[in-house]
Symmetry: C2
Subunit: 513 residues, 2 copies
């Protein structure tokens, strides 16, 4: 019987000394456990296979193991063998003589992050945005599509290295069945598949944003775009926004690239009226601004098919780069998104993507293409919209009664409510208190740039060799953000809405601790 | 019946003019086709649905369509409707008033690339490296694993947004079943899953390589590492290499980060002896060099289990960051790789990955975890190694007879041969001539930096605001690279080897082209 290379290596220096062999085996294993080389809960080889590999007797190994068990370093589990014990407070792995922090060219961990409890499914009232409702997933149609993509012939198509290509059928389904719903006519050469829209945005930042590129972002806005842009350029500014979204004013005109969410502004849910959309496009065309339209809720409009035309569909000057995703519609775990852009942009993105990661997994591309082609996608959209509409109506009905003193906004088709709490509310406290009652909501402060973050951005810029002042970036009252919170309803079952809101309301009335 | 938003938009400006309605419909569609807004082969709505949507009679639409068919702009296909005709030489989409090229912060498309024919499976003799042999894919075990990952309970686990997490079962299988084969003991906190090892390398470049970081690469070496590093730093140097791989000399000592392939050097297949591995680690430790070990052929050693211990397994100073992948072993299309590194590095990579793309698709992570856990992985490795060993032996046996005048290298366990042709050979000509005979091989020049590429790197560095001279980077005789070519055998059926090599040999004897 064979044992792993690792175990042979571990005993590589052991000489043949019949007297102290058992003690030696014990010592080597004990050392490896103490230094963390052998991790807790790792299974050790059977005494038979270790004995064979080392050319010693099984009794010698057994004696060593028994000693280690007595010492509490190993545990024996019935019928499954010996494992490294999970002792608390064991010495951690040594981290090398020097400080890793000094090795990093960038420090992504310094960025503030949206934090949602990892175990959110364990909470009875998850009013989260963008997460997944197991009850809405089209299990059988998806299985059918996966099965179809698992025939010998299909495997031959997807298992190979596509280098920089995408699955042609998925591109085809996007061109003919998905994008036309949004008003977009595009050929396959104007589309590239991404690992969700996060990947789309990060590639576009890499491609379009140099160290001094003037870039505009929304404030409040999607924090990750702010972070990505902030790591790439020293000239990021907040675009002026009013109740309809971005205003095409002088700030906008001064930018080379602007990241916008006009379908439903993130996080306010503002739907930009068509007139404003045309003004924005005109201004972009006049001043040479590239618009990156993040249509993160693409396709799944709660109220059905009546969405306004997206910027991309109105664009006649080829100024708009469009990003969409199947994460919100189908399942975030699948990680499939796309960029629709003029061909020269897509051509560069293909090479960039090849260098970054080659291509999104092709088996998932094929399953999704089949899913759309079989008509499951349209059916799933209809079914999901019906359920979400019910939830939206229920929440809208209950909010005035259960959350008095708050102002609510949810524009047509949006999948969350943006709520301004009473004066003086710090929604971070509310989030914590609500969580203790089983209710998950999202604090609003993360969407606003606050002064501390400005300082982080300055530091990040300095890492890039650029010196800027914190005050140059944003002037925002931090208290403004803290009054807000977001209430999503894609993951909460309809019958949980009322009890969840009642708990939230009781906290708001009593004032959160 | 509904039609897409796109079609409603298209006709948005059409006034109600009963006289010229048909001509108007025709004009709008003809315009949209001429300007490329409607792409060739796109299906147009049925006359019934367009008529309903516009509130006009079906005859009006039919007359317009018939006219467009007569003009050759549409084609009618029996029982499937009308489509935009695929006319050659039609005006391309206008690309906007300004030049996209001026918009790009980086120009990935300027990098030279490994090019393999996309339709390589159509060639009878594909001696390619790193591609996929449909005959070796474990179809039934993979299907079983995918099916297991498609239960309602499993879907609930993978369909959610994991934010920056990975599937815990896959991490577990890596810790306990995969990495120990390579001599690596690691805890789950020291591993992160990536979209293949390409993604692993690109994240490490982003994290570790700033604008002036001294980085060492192999020459000849994997071109994409050269490109990624070249885009990130102005201080890239070729490490000294001899027949055993990288030499730990003064150049090595001057680097902060070194990218190495010690298992099988890419492309020479050199296996670095254990003594040299230890010298490299000692030098890295003394001089503070971080070693990135790209173990791209990890696990699948053609001659079985007897691989030498990888750098990571010998590393006691925590100097080594290890990247591995299931692409070569299982299927490149799945895009699953991983990084094993000290925890501070993995912690930063998790945040960076979250910003870049969140996480690799979780359904594939779960399927793979199940595949390993059910024992299919070990079985697949054994089965594949047997077949590949047979192919390697067959090629080794035939080469001296069929390719006289060439020098061959294939170190123990490697999955390709590295071949030096006769003096004066330009392998790019050989590649073209061989392709005409149905034989695919890879030219060697791409693995070497040539003077033209040095100039590209200088230009790329200038885009980053750094001025360097081409001569500073590499001094290589371009003719050296052109004499070489690579012969892979993972995609060619055993019985095709001899006829393929015979054709190649006849070309070499007659002189290509």
């Amino acid at each position: 019987m064979q044992i792993d290379t690792a175990w042979r290596l571990l005993f590589g220096g052991m000489e043949r000394d019949p007297q102290g062999l058992s003690a030696r085996v014990r010592g080597i294993i004990a050392d490896a456990i103490e230094t963390g080389l052998l991790a807790p809960d790792m299974r050790v080889p059977s005494s038979r296979s270790l004995a064979e590999a080392l050319g010693i007797s099984r009794n010698t190994v057994n004696a060593a193991y028994q000693h280690l068990i007595d010492d509490g370093l190993l545990v024996a589990r019935e019928r499954s063998g010996c494992f490294v014990a999970a002792t608390e407070g064991r010495t951690a792995v040594e981290e090398g003589p020097d400080d890793w922090a000094a090795r990093f060219a960038i420090r992504p961990s310094r960025m503030p992050q949206i934090t949602k409890p990892r175990n959110w499914t364990d909470y009875p009232y998850p009013f989260l945005f963008g997460q997944f409702d197991p009850g809405l997933f089209p299990t059988n149609p998806w299985r059918e599509s996966v099965k179809a993509a698992s025939s010998v012939q299909e495997i031959t198509r997807w298992a190979r290295d596509m280098i920089d290509d995408d699955d042609p059928d998925l591109l085809d389904q996007l061109c003919h069945k998905v994008l036309p719903r949004r008003g977009i006519f595009a050929g396959p050469g104007e589309i590239i598949i991404t690992i969700g829209s996060q990947h789309a945005l990060s590639m576009l930042v890499q491609l379009l944003v140099g160290r001094d590129t003037p870039v505009g972002i929304e404030n409040p806005g999607y924090p990750d775009v702010r972070h990505m842009v902030g790591m790439a350029t020293a000239d990021m500014r907040a675009l002026t926004c009013d109740t309809y979204g971005v205003v095409p004013d002088g700030v906008f005109a001064s930018r080379r690239v602007a990241f916008v969410t006009v379908g439903h502004q993130c996080p306010t849910t503002a739907v930009m009226p068509v007139g404003r959309r045309r003004e924005l496009l005109d201004a972009a065309s006049r001043h040479g601004v590239v618009l990156v339209e993040d249509d993160y809720e693409s396709d799944l409009s709660v109220e059905g098919d009546a969405d306004l035309p997206c910027l991309k569909s109105l664009d006649r000057a080829n100024r708009v780069i469009y990003t969409g995703s199947f994460s919100k519609v189908l399942a975030p775990g699948l990680r499939i998104g796309y960029v629709v852009a003029p061909k020269p942009v897509v051509d560069e993105l293909r090479v960039l993507r090849r260098l970054m990661l080659r291509h999104p997994p092709t088996n998932n591309q094929r399953s999704l293409a089949t899913f759309i082609q079989l008509g499951h996608y349209r059916q799933h959209l209809r079914r999901t919209a019906t359920v979400l509409q019910e939830r939206a109506e229920r929440i809208a009905e209950l909010l005035p009664e259960l959350l008095p003193g708050c102002r609510f906004r949810r524009d047509f088709g949006a999948k969350s409510f943006w709520i301004e709490g009473p004066p003086g509310l710090d929604s971070r406290d509310l989030v914590r208190a609500a969580r203790d009652l089983g209710v998950l909501i999202e604090a609003g402060d993360i969407f606003f740039v606050d002064p501390a973050e400005s300082r982080d951005l300055v530091r990040a810029a300095r890492d890039l060799g650029v010196l800027i002042e914190a005050g140059d970036i944003f002037f925002v009252d931090p208290a403004e953000g803290r009054r807000h919170f977001r209430l999503g309803f894609t993951s909460i079952a309809t019958h949980r809405i009322e009890p969840g809101l009642r708990r939230l309301g009781s906290l708001l009335r009593s004032g959160p601790a």
